[in-house]
């Protein structure tokens, strides 16, 4: 091989190497800000969801733990005390005037008081809470299964998602909200919890009522739930991605 070809090839290889490095470091950062790229990367969640639906049975249970496993201090995350005058007034009177409104695609919309919910058959489950940040805490949660609560309002067949609207104000004048599909809503570890570790749910953990899921990450488990609405699509709400954190770029499917 002649010296010139060799040098040229060397330059080409060096160029390719440098180009690949720059592409990786700079390009990926630029791509991260591109809505189209975000859409493509984010779409992998639907493949992940399909794969997990295939591998994991509809009612497969998340592991349950013993009292000895309960975290001494359960880490509280997100809103710890909603800056909302209406909520603060409800809290001041022990949530006796609080009502959970359930409507949307249901045959019999209704409002439930905390006593109504406490009178329902309850589950007590010691489960692991996994935060999207990476940490895990074990706690004991008590409350009715969401499917039993929904049975009281008789969901219509068109209902595909359960929207949960919350009392905690977030950036930009919006309130926290979330959505889960009917399959998740029907899971036996999907609870509307009003107790943590045998005590009335403290405000920092979402009093008076929060969602508990066995098989998804913490940000799906809306705290300070005020209003449940059954819908056919979550697109009309917020910025259309199904939840407060989803609107900030997090995946709607939080099973991973």
């Amino acid at each position: 091989m002649s010296e010139i070809v060799s040098v040229r090839r060397r330059r080409l290889l060096l160029g390719l190497g440098a180009g690949a490095g720059t592409l990786l470091l700079g390009g990926c950062d630029r791509l991260s800000n591109l809505p189209q790229a975000q859409g493509v990367l984010g779409s992998a969640q639907w493949l992940t969801r399909a794969a997990q639906r295939t591998l994991v049975g509809r009612d497969a249970l998340a592991p349950e733990y013993t009292r000895a496993d309960i975290a001494p201090v359960f880490r509280a995350n997100g809103t710890l005390d909603p800056e909302n005058a209406h909520y603060q007034a409800l809290a001041a009177s022990g949530f006796k005037d609080w009502r959970l409104r359930i409507d949307g695609l249901v045959a019999r919309p209704r409002e439930l008081s905390l006593d109504d919910i406490r009178a329902m058959p309850a589950q007590t489950q010691i489960t692991r809470h996994d935060c999207v940040e990476g940490w895990s805490c074990i706690g004991q949660w008590t409350g009715p299964m969401l499917r039993d609560v929904l049975a009281r309002v008789v969901p219509k067949p068109q209902a595909r998602y359960v929207m949960l609207f919350c009392a905690d104000p977030m950036d930009g004048g919006s309130y926290y909200y979330e959505s889960i599909d009917m399959r998740t809503a029907a899971h036996p570890q999907t609870l509307l919890a009003y107790e943590l570790n045998g005590e009335t749910l403290p405000i920092r953990y979402g009093a008076p009522l929060r969602l508990r899921l066995g098989r998804q990450l913490g940000y799906k488990m809306a705290k300070y739930v005020m209003h449940i609405q059954l819908v056919s699509s979550y697109r009309p709400f917020g910025r259309g991605n199904g939840g407060y954190w989803e609107d900030q770029g997090y995946a709607w499917y939080a099973g991973i």
Binding site: R9, L24, C28, D29, A44, V56, L61, W135, I256
Partner: protein, 292 residues
């Protein structure tokens, strides 16, 4: 003598004391570079995810006061801030790299790994996860194609499975490597024992462990495959093991790069791009398989 690949090139040409062989098949070359890009993205987006809670624990849940590894910033009584990394009961000052480093705007911020090591550079967990969980599919798919083709074509058995001679010469090969003397002539046609064992360890031990510990962090997978939690001793252990697997892959990558450079950068690089690998047939040499 065994050929290095399934398909030998048209008659080996001797050029100035060197002959060129087809070192890597087209499939291996494509899979190699896809793997390289994907692993780089996985590592860097993984560090972004780690940075959201730069601490590791053992067991099921996070025992916050007792991490096995943690990174953060500490202020001394003179108001000076240090980056600190704690491993078990040992604390190391890692200012500028781990715990306390320059953010994207040039000012120091508290973060686990520095901006140049994470994808995206700035703190952005949502996009880190988006990159990670997209390219996880590419990585697994690429790996599955590699193993399937490797078995079907005989590449794994022929080129990567150690022979009895490889085992017998393992000590010798190790010493030669440490002295930075690499095989030449006919010996350079095949992987040596150390290479074969390293590649097999990565492909059949570290890579599957990385995938399985990754899956164990998924709360849905834990419901479907509870044995994952049993074999890795809980979700937080799995997260720590996932991190250790990633660091093992990084260490393999760094040694791999060093070996590529030391044993003939251009020849190695050419063989992984065009497939052509030069073998020095002159009786004397510096120990390098080629010098252009």
């Amino acid at each position: 003598m065994e050929p290095a690949t399934a398909t030998l090139p048209a008659p080996e040409r001797a050029v100035g004391g060197r002959i060129f062989i087809l070192r890597h098949s087209r499939a291996v070359r494509i899979l190699h570079w896809v793997n390289f890009l994907t692993l780089a993205i996985m590592l860097m987006s993984g560090l972004q995810i780690f940075n959201a809670h730069p601490a590791l624990y053992w067991g099921t849940s996070s025992d916050f006061p007792r991490p096995i590894l943690s990174m953060g910033a500490m202020e001394d009584n003179q108001g000076h801030t240090w980056g600190v990394t704690t491993v078990g009961s040992h604390t190391f000052v890692t200012t500028g790299v781990l715990g306390w480093s320059k953010g994207s705007d040039g000012t120091y911020v508290e973060r686990g790994f520095p901006t140049w090591a994470t994808l995206p550079g700035p703190r952005w967990l949502a996009m880190g996860r988006a990159w990670h969980f997209f390219f996880a599919w590419i990585l697994v798919l690429n790996g599955a194609v590699y193993v399937t083709l490797g078995i079907l074509s005989g590449h794994l058995r022929r080129d990567l499975w150690p022979t009895r001679v490889d085992w017998q010469r393992l000590g010798h090969t190790l010493i030669e490597h440490l002295r930075l003397r690499f095989p030449r002539g006919d010996e350079a046609r095949r992987y040596n024992g150390i290479q074969k064992l390293s590649y097999l360890f990565i492909v059949f031990v570290v890579a599957p462990l990385t995938v399985l510990t990754g899956l164990t962090m998924s709360p849905t997978m834990d419901a479907g495959w509870p044995w994952l939690l049993a074999i890795f001793d809980g979700r937080q252990s799995a997260r720590s093991l996932h991190f250790i697997c990633a660091m093992t892959l990084l260490a393999f990558f760094l040694v791999h790069i060093a070996m590529v450079v030391l044993s003939g950068l251009w020849n190695n690089l050419r063989s992984m791009i065009t497939g052509r690998y030069a073998i020095d047939t002159t009786p004397t040499g510096t120990g390098r398989s080629t010098h252009e």
